[in-house]
């Protein structure tokens, strides 16, 4: 600890870039910059490996993992290959399955389900191998930045330190310590506050064949479940609902999980033999987005730039891709010994916002009853399923031939309110007979 690639103590040199946070956004930025020859200091407040929610990748993050050179490690890492995603109704009367290999380029045909403790640690170690200096249990306490660079104060093992650099990247997740310290304005994008209750289980029912690694989303009338197979044994299962909806039931989050299990055949079926491996965890999902994601010497990446509803597993993908953008912007400006121009700052903000905006449209669709009917019943007309598959796979940079189909899809979603273009969905459960008590 304390040593640097040049053998000097951490605080005696000026770093090229300081990265705050060692999750996928931080480690990716650090890895890419170190790979390009920069002196990078990464400050992580926690000790890795550590638990994190958000265990499903989507294929459009693959490019960054390949560029980082970490893909072969994932292949060998014992992660569950994910070949697609599927959506079921809670009453089992409706199902839509997507295969990434169908209609997408080969490099997007597969990705992984990842236990984040392991995945994030692997990315961090990879960044270290690329030459980044990783400092764990180091908590940023304050930051100063101007056109020339940054100075970051942090606490490490009971003492305060100061580190200087030309650049700082905020990869600190939803807490966004840099964004917060710099008082960057943010918006909640008009999305209701939600809560997730989840745990890891064994003996959850798995799909057969190549669909064994699919993520399954089960849509309830007022919420949804995720089923993410993490390895041969372990499955991550969670319930997401609005805080308002939860309050109106008058139940604790764990109780509402239990209640949903009893009430919905799709959940009951999948959880029939399930055994919980850990305590339930609870996490609030508050959507927000910073209005500005970059300044002359600072950039916000991943959740620090904005956090959106996790329904389409966009979190890690946005972290990876925004970090790639951030690293590129830094390397270009640094090569010319100057801060980011206002144009570059704007372009970075726009680039990151575009990623989240594509998903926000999808998220609003998912929670809109009529729009969701079109999603579940989408016909093969005009090659629309291919367009929707591109969205589900995380393609946020749509070619024209896909883009107009996406617009058409959303137009149908709007029309569905007045005309049943797709069959109306009923979430009604068949009358229950002979249901055994279940507790997990």
């Amino acid at each position: 600890m304390g040593g640097t690639p040049t053998g000097l103590p951490v605080n005696a040199i000026t770093w090229d870039t300081i990265v705050v946070g060692g999750g996928p956004a931080g480690s990716t930025t650090a890895g890419l910059l170190a790979k390009a020859g920069q002196k990078v200091l990464l400050l992580e407040r926690d000790t890795f490996p550590r638990f994190h929610i958000g265990e499903s990748l989507i294929p459009y993050g693959n490019d960054v993992l390949l560029e980082l050179g970490v893909w072969p490690k994932l292949e060998k890492g014992g992660f569950m290959p994910k070949l697609g995603a599927e959506f079921a109704l809670s009453n089992a009367a409706g199902f839509q399955r997507f295969w990434f290999g169908k209609n997408l380029e080969k490099r997007y045909a597969k990705t992984f389900q990842v236990e984040r403790a392991k995945f994030d640690h692997l990315l961090m170690q990879h960044a270290e191998e690329q030459g980044a200096k990783i400092l764990q249990r180091a908590k940023m306490t304050s930051i100063k930045t101007d056109n020339a660079g940054v100075s970051v104060n942090y606490e490490h093992e009971g003492t305060n330190h100061e580190a200087k650099a030309r650049w700082v990247v905020d990869g600190s997740g939803r807490t966004s310590v840099v964004g917060h310290a710099l008082k960057v304005p943010k918006s909640d994008l008009g999305m209701p506050k939600k809560l997730a209750v989840f745990s890891h289980f064994k003996n959850v029912l798995r799909n057969g064949g190549d669909a064994a690694g699919h993520i399954t989303i089960v849509r309830l009338e007022n919420g949804w479940f995720w089923f993410i197979p993490l390895d041969e044994e372990k499955t991550s299962v969670g319930l997401v609902q609005t805080i308002e909806g939860l309050k109106s039931q008058g139940l604790k989050p764990e109780e509402s999980f239990q209640r949903a299990l009893e009430n919905h055949i799709e959940i009951r079926f999948r959880m029939k033999k399930a055994e919980r491996l850990e305590e339930f965890r609870i996490e609030a999902d508050y959507t927000f987005r910073h209005e500005v994601a970059a300044g002359p010497r600072w950039l916000l990446a991943g959740d620090a730039a904005g956090f959106i509803d996790p329904i389409f597993s966009s979190g890690v993908m946005v972290a990876l891709r925004s970090s790639q953008l951030a690293a590129k912007a830094i390397l270009k400006a640094d090569g010319e010994s100057r801060p980011l121009s206002t144009g570059e700052q704007r372009r970075y903000t726009k680039g990151v916002k575009k990623m989240t905006s594509v998903f926000l449209d999808m998220i609003r669709m998912f929670y809109d009853r009529n729009a969701f009917e079109v999603f579940m019943g989408s016909s093969s007309k005009l090659d629309m399923p291919r367009a929707v598959l591109n969205l589900v796979a995380g393609n946020t940079d749509l070619r024209w031939d896909i883009q107009w189909r996406v617009w058409l899809f959303y137009a149908m979603c709007k029309l569905q309110k007045h005309f049943a273009l797709a069959p109306r969905l009923s979430f009604e459960e068949s009358p229950r007979r002979n249901v055994k008590e279940m507790a997990v």
């Binding site: 089992a92 019943g377 016909s379 009923s426 009604e428």
Partner: protein, 87 residues
């Protein structure tokens, strides 16, 4: 794990519907109704509902649900398997 094979669902379709295509061409995600699917009609739907009840012992009692359940072979399987498990 799937307990009901695609073959079994194809069989169900052959026995209960007026198929205009070779059964082998019917996949997991083939749409059964509508012009961009197999083009089955409401008579076929009724026959299918009865067929599912006699073959698998699972009765679709709500007509609203029938159209959802009979969308593709995959959706039929999903629903039937769950009914068999929690009769």
């Amino acid at each position: 794990m799937e307990k009901i094979s695609l073959e079994k669902i194809r069989q169900l379709l052959i026995e209960n519907c007026m198929l205009k295509v070779a059964p082998e061409s019917i996949g997991e995600e083939t749409l059964l109704f509508g012009p961009d699917g197999l083009g089955l009609d409401s008579i076929d739907a009724l026959q299918l509902t009865l067929g599912i009840e006699s073959t698998f012992g699972a009765a679709i009692k709500d007509p609203k649900l029938a159209i959802q359940i009979l969308r593709t072979p995959g959706t039929i399987r999903l629903w039937v398997e769950r009914q068999q498990d929690f009769p």
